[in-house]
Amino acid sequence: MTLLALERLTVALPAGADRPHALVDVSLTLDAGEILCVVGESGSGKSITATTIMGLMAPGVRVAAGRVMFEGTDLARLPAEALPRLRGPRIAMVFQEPMTALNPLMMVGDQLAEMWRTHTDLPARDIAARARAALAEVALPDPDGALRAYPHELSGGQRQRVMIAMALALEPALLICDEPTTALDVTTQAQILRLIRELQSRRGTAVLFITHDFGVVAEIADRVIVMQQGLVVEQGAAAQVLGAPAHDYTRRLLAAVPRLTAPAPRAISAEPVLEITGLSKTYRPAGLFRRRRETRALDGVTLTLRRGATLGVVGESGSGKSTLARCAVGLLPFDAGTIRIEGRPLPGARQAAAHCVQMVFQDPYASLNPRRRVGDQVAQRPIAAGTGRDAARAQAAELFALVGLDPAALVRFPHEFSGGQRQRIGIARALALRPKLIVCDEPVSALDVSIQAQVINLLDDLQEEFDLTYVFIAHDLSVVRHISDRVAVMYLGKIVEVGDRVSLYEHPMHPYTHALLSAVPVPDPDKEHARERILLTGDVPSPLNPPPACRFHTRCWKAQSLCTQVEPPLVEVQPGHEVACHFPEERVIV
């Protein structure tokens, strides 16, 4: 039975937008009890599809043609006061950003109870009971505590559970999820996807699931619709679209997705370029009269990296991977330990350190100064170091050509470039000082998949050409596998496992690595459903207050009393493969 049908829907953007229409002639149907994934890159119109159904479009966005048929009525032509009556009881929505989707000044219980207060005449006591039951159903560890908590007291994953509880409170027929797991860590994402799937099958809710991630599609979708720039380019059963894509664009997208597979290992020189020993860093909020709270961001990290190799560092939020990156380039002072580059300590003076190590940043929109020409930003440091203005310009032009940009674009401003192009400018800037070591802090996580592949290939080519050594920080295990020679897994400021890529991915030993690898969605429904899944409980604990001894013991299924008392040291279990676990065990995940 068809629950929702978009019929030749065209949605117009306000005058002055980059294109006249967000959606053009979009038709789709969703049956009761079905999960339909709408997948596409940024600008595909997938989110506007969701907001149009809900009637929550941004000001100026309007339905120009077509119908939004839901249970026999056209939502696009419903009078303004009728729509709120449907929102909640019939259609509900979960948003991307759990951190901002709840009112920060209102207790979670009150925000949840609002659903019944608004749409039913239930007495207050019944509402309270139902709110508690709803929180229990989404598996929040302490439902009573959560009712009285303010949003900032919950983690991102917990907030998203509250959002789901709220959306499903009145048992709607249709649940719209707009990238509900994009902002979450990968182990949390696995939990939330599982939860949505469970609740959906228990209640028979139809789900319209918006995502950019084909791995998520493979995990959750019954059917898939692929969108590109406001048009539906392909639709069909999930297995069919992912397994045998018919449209060229879908094929390209799928090809660009880095899978948990990788090129063959390569020979690497024995000469160490980066040696980190016992690195520790604690953040101490300053201030005479403020309460002191210390965050142990890094705790005794030791790493070695050889010339021409890439070290991948993976970890979820709070793992300390970004702190490690910032310490390694001299942006952050550290408390203990040493960092040596080519055998010499990292110079304390910024000017000298710049020649040893450079950095590529995460956000291509924030990493370039919006008010200065890109050429100046690439050439400024050589000029400051004494290179003549013309020579530096010429060098910048060369670098632009090297990273695949038109040297004539040197005089333009950052806003004239796309995200991928800006990341290329960032790489050119890092190369300007001819460093031996480049630290890449999540360099592709803000980019669309098709662009990710290009940037990674560029980094690969540059490494070959200039014998560069990379530290590659990422939360995405697939990307890391693609580019790294060695991989370190971090959890709450410590390295829990480090090894050669092949060894670590094919024979992981630490339970956390097992969970992490198993949580990564793979864009292949057959493999996805066949492989073993390990679901962790809870979220990553706050680094403000990490668990004692083995920091992973609170979420580990193998934990015993030893793990809560003695911290496991990092031990070499095979040549070049070290694990910090009392009970290491080889396990094949992918």
Binding site: P84, G88, P89, E97, N103, M166, F289
Partner: protein, 323 residues
Amino acid sequence: MRVFSLAARRLAASLPTLLLILVGMFLLLQLAPGDTVDALLAQMGGGDAGVARDLRVFYGLDLSLPAQLGNYLWRLVRLDLGFSAIYGKPVATVILERLPATLSLMGASLSLAFCAGMGLGVIAARHVNRWPDTLISTLGLIFYATPSFWFGLMAIVLFSVQLQWLPAGGFGDVAMGYTGWRRALDIAWHLVLPTLTLGLIFLAIYLRIMRASMLEVLSLDFVRTARAKGLREGRIVTRHVLRNALLPMVTLIGLQAGTMLGGAVVVESVFALPGLGRLAYESVVQRDLNTLLGIVFVSALLVIAVNFAVDLLYARLDPRIGA
């Protein structure tokens, strides 16, 4: 408890600020031409050098600068603000006599500005870019651009001289000999025009901030969540937007407390109110530096007290503070 310890910490943090002000002011006034004794002698119609020297010894003005500063601070710790040569009374007494008028004027103006500013800001934001918004925003701009003393004078011309509705000045009509409630009512009646005069510019500021803050909050994600929950616009504003939008307004009270006290100087002067501001003006004109220093001290205390209250209020409104 969380709220209280936070506010206490903020209060402790304002002690160095207070010290900085007092030391700075003391040193600044040393640069002034003439001292208390000069002012006193001028008041008495002159005197010979011997009298002046004796007086300087009496007031401790013959000591070295650090010693004088030390004496001064030590007296302040004991809440002794010194003696006003001009008024012939301890400065503390003079100031205490003048405090009620200023406090009632400030309290009334602040309430007017905050409440009216909030109400008008909400109305403007809910009808953004339509006629109620245009009207309110234009009025706000004009209020902001009106010099308070001029508005006060014009109000006197209109309401006191022409229409004879309201008194032109004074802090209650002493001649009528009212007591109790009658007196309070009489004072309130006399404060209507001064309150309007002082409150107008702050009303304009609060109105503008409230409008901007409402618009900002209305664009946040959790408001979209509330809409997706099927809440009506009216409920969204009262239950979700208002409290969030009030946070910058509350901050503003603290930031504007000093400015408001400064505004009181002019308004009290226009309406002949026996307040702290007028006292400040008189002591500048009469070079009564002891009193001036005392006023600076008391005003700083007042501003710190307002900020303390604002901190308490803010921490109550926002559970994230101090967490």
